[in-house]
């Protein structure tokens, strides 16, 4: 009998048809080579699944709200400051505004209370 090595991953993922499933499992009972292959694939699968989840650096939910008008004024002021060469300390991002990103795509507006900075080219409205 041929060894069903090409569908062992699908067995682990429970993605086989009932017919394939019974064929493979009965083969595995009598085949040490395929059983060893299956164990190796199961290890790799568990390693990838155990990779630590990464935290997105940009908060998602604050981006949903359009910032109040004073923030736009602050952002414009920051742009003006940058234009004459002064550096404004970057703050930890609190808001990234989706409307701005949608409109200008290359701009990223980062605003925190009292401190504002703009990175990247910013187009006028």
């Amino acid at each position: 009998m041929t060894h069903p090595i090409d569908i062992l991953s699908a067995l682990l993922d429970d993605e086989l048809s009932p017919e394939e499933h019974s064929t493979v499992t009965s083969h595995l009972e009598g085949c040490a080579a395929c059983s060893a292959d299956l164990a190796g694939l199961a290890r790799v699968r568990s390693w990838v699944r155990a990779l630590p989840e990464q935290e997105p650096p940009v908060p998602l939910v604050p981006a949903l709200r359009r910032p109040p008008r004073w923030i736009w004024a602050a952002a414009s002021a920051a742009a003006a400051v940058l234009a004459i060469g002064l550096v404004v300390s970057p703050a930890r991002p609190e808001v990234f505004d989706l409307d701005t990103l949608a409109g200008q795509h290359t701009a990223r507006v980062v605003v925190a209370p009292g401190i504002s900075s703009i990175r990247g080219p910013v187009g006028g409205p």
Binding site: D6, S9, E15, R43, V44, W47, V48, L51, E53, V58
Partner: protein
Amino acid sequence: MPDHAIPTWEEVARDHGRRIYNFAYRLTGNPDDASDLMQEVLLRVRRGLAGYTPGSFEGWLWRITRNAFLDDVRRRKRRPTVALPEDDRTAFGSVSEPEDVLAETRLPEHLQQALLALPFDFREAVVMCDVVGLTYDEIAEATAIPVGTVRSRIHRGRKMLRGMLE
């Protein structure tokens, strides 16, 4: 989320933003690229929700995510690893392994490096399956390839990872 419901953009961002970020992070190994991609995907989702017809939401969302990723790769003129032809099965045959590695785990850095060494098509399939948690059908819909090809890519990707890590 039930397939018949049309989610709001807020729900997509809240419920899926982290998964989108982790997908991009594992494909690129780079937090900045992953963050840019997550924002781009959320923009596209917001634009696309108006035209979304209830169906397989996962397939729809991950098709957008994948296309955004590939567009980004093209824009940066940085190609994903060249894919092997589907019938190139000789290079990664099954290898019997000593049993003493059975219980070992692998450091995330080593695993990430091995993922990045995979041809793009295989890396993508493995990440969608094992990091994002999609079914084979959902991966097939997201990548517009037959489900049999999804099965083959996941299997061969895992075999290559095993060859690199064991």
